[in-house]
């Protein structure tokens, strides 16, 4: 049952592992560095890994969107915000009290135990077969028929965000 390394399945497995590795390394960089800009870079690496996973799972459209929106827009916006608001170096260097470290360990342990328990004991669904060809046409059609409610709700959320940011910006200008 174990496929050899150089069969198509084996190579696919290696690629999958590499993509997982890229995602994990990005996530670890994002959480473990003290400098905010490095965290954002780590986040970008993590998103690239996730995009690769989507591509691996035969949905190139989602992969490209992941790159375009998350790396190209979200990460850039976060980095931009960091540059505009100079982070307080002294505050970053402040030592955490021992209590918060213990609390973090307990919370992390609980979460990982729960996830591990669920993963080991849960009923796994059969591997998903390909629903459709993943083409742009199918995605567009299902967005406007089956998932139209979600689609509209998301656009309302975005509209609210835009209006909110405009309101905030105007208030700030008047305050000066």
């Amino acid at each position: 049952m174990n496929p050899s390394l150089f069969s198509p399945e084996g190579l696919a497995g290696v690629i999958f592992l590499i993509l997982i590795g890229v995602t994990m390394i990005g996530a670890i960089i994002a959480t473990c560095t003290k400098r905010l800009i490095r965290s954002v870079s780590g986040l970008a690496v993590c998103f690239v890994g996730v995009a690769g996973l989507y591509y691996f799972l035969n949905s190139p459209f989602v992969a490209m969107m992941e790159l375009l929106i998350y790396v190209g827009a979200v990460c850039v916006t976060i980095a931009f915000a960091i540059m505009l608001a100079e982070p307080d170096e002294a505050k970053l260097a402040r030592k955490m009290s021992g209590l918060s470290g213990g609390l973090a360990a307990v919370c992390g342990g609980a979460v990982s135990f729960a996830l591990g328990y669920a993963a080991v004991n849960g009923q796994w669904m059969a591997p998903a077969t390909q629903v459709n060809d993943g083409s742009l046409k199918m995605i567009g059609a299902s967005l406007l028929t089956k998932y139209s409610m979600v689609f509209e709700l998301i656009s309302i959320v975005l509209l609210a965000a835009i209006i909110g940011s405009v309101a905030l910006a105007r208030a700030g200008r008047r305050g000066n």
Binding site: I37, S41, A44, M64, M65, L68, V71, G72, A73, F80
Partner: protein
Amino acid sequence: MNELIRLLSYMICIAAFLGLNLAYLGWVERKGAGHIQRRTGPKDVGPYGLLQPLADGLKLMSKQLIVPANADRPLYMCAPILTMVPAVLLFVAIPFGEHLVPREFNFGLLMMFAFASVGGMSILIGGWGSGNKYSLIAGARAVSQNVAYEIPMLITAITIVMITGSMDLNEIVRQQGGFFWNWNVFRLDKSILMPVSFLVFFICSLAETNRTPFDMGECEGELVAGYHTEYGGMGFGLFMMAEYANLVIGCSLTTVLFLGGWQCPFGLFPGPHWFLLKMYFLIWCFVWIRWTYPRTTFWGLLNLSWKYLIPFSLVNLLLTALFIKVF
């Protein structure tokens, strides 16, 4: 096995094409600048200064790599490589001819924009990683400009997708066959504003590739040399080469979307030569504009995008939808 050989030969050809372009576009730019300003441009190294790019390359490669004391070392080292990678990667989807395309993607157009948007991140990282306030200001400027001009560019590209019904770059070119009035730039029956939207796309690609009049990222008058102030040797060389690679990509994309790619204007002998001819003409226009117009101010640049180009491209989008629905 055939597929493997095909891919390998395409990789070699793209690398050669890219290397040649990156080296000699610099020469073209310097020659063009010289003649526009009534100078001769490079002339000493080789006939007509043709060996100048090689000399420049040797000089850049033989320089010591210095990391400034203030710099964020890993980010500083990563940034030049990161600017180069997406630029090179994008050549995979460009249709040079009907059968001369390394890989035909269903999502070619989307892929172009996806990887091009990664380039902004590398400029930010380079600007921040240098640990120099001028680089930082320049990086922030370059990125706010990239973000601002990406929006009208995307919306204009969406109108093209609505007209052709495909994101496959080769398919978009195929639909512009026959005479030149079938090119998207002249498709007045699809949207009456088509030539103007070509202009919008062209302006946006000027801004996206950080070229004068929009080179806020490296205005040497106020910010020394912008986000690559602290880079010497090949680090600087990579930033320069990425700029030219982005130039080639931007012009190729404009050619494919609006000027009929590899199609001949008169329906005769379509092929890669037409693609290259149109692309190099656009590149020459970029050089021409760079040495003709002065730099704009930063607020003027952002105002142009947010107050004129974005509303215009939105109106154009609605108009195109209307035209497609009505006719």
